[in-house]
Each structure stands twice: as C-alpha cells, then as structure tokens.
Symmetry: none
Amino acid sequence: MSPDRKSRNEEIREASKARILDAALELFSSHGYEYTSISQIARKAGISKGLIYNYYASKEEMLEALIENLNKGEDKFLEIFQNDDPSEVLENMFRLYFREIRENAEVWKMITALSLQLEKFEFVHDMALEKLHRYYKLIEQQLRAIGYPDAEREAKVIAAVFDGMGIHHLIIRDDYPLDELEDYLISKYCRYEK
Amino acid sequence: MSPDRKSRNEEIREASKARILDAALELFSSHGYEYTSISQIARKAGISKGLIYNYYASKEEMLEALIENLNKGEDKFLEIFQNDDPSEVLENMFRLYFREIRENAEVWKMITALSLQLEKFEFVHDMALEKLHRYYKLIEQQLRAIGYPDAEREAKVIAAVFDGMGIHHLIIRDDYPLDELEDYLISKYCRYEK
Amino acid sequence: MSPDRKSRNEEIREASKARILDAALELFSSHGYEYTSISQIARKAGISKGLIYNYYASKEEMLEALIENLNKGEDKFLEIFQNDDPSEVLENMFRLYFREIRENAEVWKMITALSLQLEKFEFVHDMALEKLHRYYKLIEQQLRAIGYPDAEREAKVIAAVFDGMGIHHLIIRDDYPLDELEDYLISKYCRYEK
Amino acid sequence: MSPDRKSRNEEIREASKARILDAALELFSSHGYEYTSISQIARKAGISKGLIYNYYASKEEMLEALIENLNKGEDKFLEIFQNDDPSEVLENMFRLYFREIRENAEVWKMITALSLQLEKFEFVHDMALEKLHRYYKLIEQQLRAIGYPDAEREAKVIAAVFDGMGIHHLIIRDDYPLDELEDYLISKYCRYEK
DNA sequence: GATGAATGAGCGTTCATTCAT
DNA sequence: AATGAATGAACGCTCATTCAT
C-alpha cells in the first residue's frame, strides 16, 4: 500500500470518527445517552449505522471516546493556570468555569448526569473522581497562598458551589444570574484581604 | 355499592398504590429510572404487571406520582422551620440537608439525575424550579435576619453548595468529609457576627 | 388467584411452549439451527417474536428444551428393552433404530449436526456422550449374552454402523436400501450361532 | 501483455487463491463455516477483504473451491490402491481411513457437518454422494475378490462403520479406542478365510 | 380489582458484499 | 491487483403496554 493511500485513509477515518463523535455529543447532550439510539447518531452524522461499528466497538465505547476527547480539551485549558499571582489564578478559574457553564451547559449536563450513574459507567466515575481531587488541590493551593483561612475546607465548598451553580443554571436557565454571581464570588474570594 | 364497600375499596386502592410507589422508589433509586422495568416493580411490589396500569397510565405517570409523594413529605419537613431565631432556623436547615444526603443519598441522586433530563421530564423540572425558588427565599430570609451582607446572592451560593456537595458525596462516597463540612458551614454562616 | 385461573394459565403456557417447540423442531431440522431465525419460528408457530422470550430466555435455551424433550421421548423408548432373550432385545434395537432413521431422519440429522459443534453446544455434546456410552453398554450386554466373540469391540462397531447408516441414508435418500440392510444386520447379529 | 507478464500474474493469482483457501480451511475447520467471517479469513491470509471477492464471488463459492481442492487431494490418494492383492488393498484402505480421522479430525468434522446441510450446500451433497458410491464399489470389489459373502451389503456396512467411527471419535475424543478398533476391523475383514 | 399471556416497535450489533480509489 | 471505508438487511433480544379472562 502506498503511503499516500495510507494517509488518505487515515484522513478519511479521522473525519468519519469526528463526524460520529460530533453527532453523538450533540444528541447525548440534548436527549441523554440512554435516549439516543445508534440510528439517530448515524442519521445525524449522515452515515450508515454499520459504519459506526467500524470505529467504535459499542455504544459505550463511543461514549468513552467522547469523554476522553472532552478531557483532552480540558487539560489544555488547565495549563493556562501557570501564573504567579494566586488571586489572579483563582479569578481565571472562576471566569473559566462560568464561561464553561454558560457556553457548554448541555455538555456539562451530560457529564454530570453520567457521573451520577456510578455503577453503569465506571470510567466516567473514575474520571470525575480524579478531576474533582485535582480541582480541590488547585483551589486549595491558591486559597492558601492568598492566606484564606481553612483553605482545605473552603476549597471543597468552592468546588461544590461550582457544580451546584451548574445544576441551578440548567434548571433556572436564562433567569439564573450568572453574571452577578460571577462578580460576587470573585470579589468574595479573589479580593480577599487578611 | 354501600359506602362501606366503597371506602373499603378505596383503602385497598391506596394500599396497592403505596406498595407500588415504595417498590418503584427503591428500584429507581438504586438502578435508575431507565434501567428499572415495570416487571421488576410488579415483582417487588408483589402484584401483577397489569395491575400497575390500573393505577398509573404509564411508567412516566408513575414517576410523576412518586415525585409528588416525595414532595409532600418534604413540605411537612419544611414546616418545622417555624422558629423565631434565624440562626437556629438556618442551622436546622443545614443539619437537615446533611442528614438527607447522608441517609437518602440514593433518592437524592435519583431526583438530581431526573432534574437534569429537562425536556424528557418536564414535571420534574417544574418541581425542581419551584423548590429551588422556595429554598432561595427561605435561606435569604434567615441571612437577612442575621444581618449577613448580600443575603440574596449568598442564599444562592449556599443553595449551590448544598447541591454541589450532594454530587461530590455521591462521587467520593465514604471519603467525603460530610461531618467536617457540616460543622464548618454551620460555624461559618450560623455563628455569624456582624 | 383462583386455582381455576392458575391451571387455565398453566394450560395456555404449556400449549404455547409446545407450539413453539414444534415450530422450532421443524425449522431446525429442515434448515438447521443457525439458519433458523426467531422470527421464522414465531411466524410458523403463529405467535409474536416477543412471546417466545416469555418461555425461553434465549434461542439456545430453546434448543436445550427441545433436546431435553426429545431425550425424554427416547428414554421411554429404551424401557421396552426389558426382555429375557438377548437376541430378541438386539433385534428390537435394530428395528427401532431403523424405524427412527426412516421416520425421523430430519430430527436425527439435526442432533448429529449439533453434536459435531462440540464447543458451541456443550450440552448437546454431553448428551451425545452419555447416550453413546449407554448404547455401547446395552449392545455389548446382548452380544455377550448371545456369546458373540469380542463383544466390547463389536458393540462399538455396531453403534458406528448405526450412525454411519444414518448419514448415508440422508445423503443417498430413497435409494439407500434401508430394508435390505435391516434384514442383513439382524440375520448377521441376531441369528448368531456359536 | 507479454506471455511472461501473463504467466507472472497467473502465478500471483494462484498463490493468493491458495493462501485464501488455506486460511479458510483452517478457520472453517476449527470454528465452523457459519462462525467464520470473511474478515477473519482475510486477516489470516494477510490480504484485504476486498481481494477475496476478486477470486471468489461469494463466501459460498469459496467453500465450493475449498471442497473441490480437498477432493483433488483425495483422488490422488485413491490411486495408490492399484494393487493385486485385495486383502492388502482393503487393509491399506482401513489404515488410510484411520490415519485420516486421527490426523485430520477437524477437517473431517467440517465435511461431515456440511454434508448434513443438504439443501443449503447442494454441491457438498453432490460430492458426498458421488464419493460414497465410489467407496461402496471399491470396498465391494475387494470383498468379492477375497470371497467375503454378501459383498455388496457388507461394503455398505463397512462404509457406515467408517463414518460412524469418525463421529464417535469426535464425540468421545481421546478416549475413543481408535488403535484397538483399527486392528480389530483389519483382522476381521482382511484376514478373512473362507 | 386482578392476572399474566401476548404484542410489536425498537434496540444494539454483525457481516457479506460493494465500490471508489 | 489490491485496499478498506461504507452499506443495509437481518439478527437476537427487551419491554412498555394491551386485553381477554
């Protein structure tokens, strides 16, 4: 097989995989994993049902790939926290989190819903667990650097606030005062004076 | 039909309905709504599949009745907040919330999961919306009475903390420091001195 | 539930199960297990696909029940060998075997085909193994009683002749001289004079 | 195209076809025809799925070619029976048959299984029919030459013994006394004294 | 009121076969 | 000659719902 042929195929494969994951993300996010059928995904992706199984061995494996993809995106997003000023880092985190639930509310909903299905999707649970601890530690470090008291517990409270607001935003939708709360939390935690 | 007979039948009906909802609550909580079949519920309730449809027109209507039931229970639970001392009321709320996620984590998980399925279960959404506003107001009132600044926003933050901790507890499980956080939050908000 | 109701249901169940197994036997025999779909069985039995799964948990379990049924029939057939005269017993066996491959050639074919799928259908293999040993012993006993030399080996040879003729009859069909061979074998083994 | 080129291509074609059939034989023998996919064959043969369809129009046609190939091999094997002494010829046949089921039990099983699928694979049936008659005649000739009585019927019995023992060996496996039966049959038929 | 046999649409998945390159 | 991405019909199976009794 010529290298041309090989790389051409690789391109086609990647394109198809991406189309499938795009369609799946959209449908899983809006209707939920259980209520999205393979047929729907295929239709939305503009391909045949069978082709999906050329790339993903099962519906669940597809979900796994999807989650992994999202995680990769987030890892990059965490890199930007290389900064000396802890207040600034904290503020960046707050701003990013708010942007996330503002712009990708549906995706965020999907991940939260899946995380709750502990025994059904162990890999999502593992991922959520690991991520949670990472966030705890990151927030705690900044709080400690700022001199905020009881940094360990407060970090857990802040992380809880994030996820809780995410849910409330999904329930209350446009009437939820995201902007207001963003400013409020930033001034509360990032402008802290001993 | 004699009134006796009528009320006798009514009793039987109510007893059967209660058994069905009990079985459903247990199964929906542990396995999830989608993964629980009508057959399983009938078996657990000790009745036939067909009888369920005598009381509930569909699986979804059964869920609706179940949620309504849970709400009624909670309404009673909210009545106990008739107390003059706002700090005490707030503390009672905190304690009750922690007891709830400690003792009925599974039920709490079920409701959260359903709340996220916005378009699939509109009635759950409506219920969650209404409840959320009620809690906001209740917390806000106490905070205002205590003299806590920015009571409106802080009430939303506290409510978010509750739901966020509920999720984190489900993910981290026994390692999540519920006791510690309970004391921390109570001392932070209920022992507030202007 | 009234006993009437219960026994009535039992009747219905048995009738349905029998119809399903009848249809399955006919189709498995003529087209083979792999080439018979659940839909075909349902159609032939005049019921819906779903009903089959009320009675048999899987296609394979259905086959298992089918085989068990056939075995029960055969067990009864073995009972008639209670006779004092070994020559007569042997002759009865021969006659019964020939009748079997004459009248139920298709069923016999199905069982043989399944027996060959050793690893796929362990229970058929187990059944075949057990039956084979039973036949070996039964034939050997008669031969020994008659005084036929080398009874143990000859019993294995006779059993092999049976299965071999079964295959040849399926291949050659109506031109296979079953009658002739029946007489020939009986005179060879049952009229044996030391 | 030059004759060289032509024959060169022809060589490649033949080599590819042979590799495909080798792979197919191995897989069909071990897993069965129905449970072997074209993909598996292509993988084992080290070629692409599509190429298989360059040589064989369908999976079934591939099986047909495979069976034909096996037959060609056997025809050569029958040629060695050019011998004057009928007892010796008969003994050679016995020995060859036993060697066959000892060494190629899996292939033998595949052919037997296919032969039973009469209507599905007519060409296998035709082949089996033709071969069976050839064997009948060959055995009969030797028996007649030896002076064995009822040679025609006995030939059919011997052929049945062969196929029957083949099946029993597959069922009983290593515990089946092939060696013993080989000696027994040879002494019974080839050392015959009028 | 109560039963459970029966239905059928829909699911996730497989695989022989086709075809553009 | 050779590839493998793509197709689609068919499969075994599930389950909410209906209905005769």
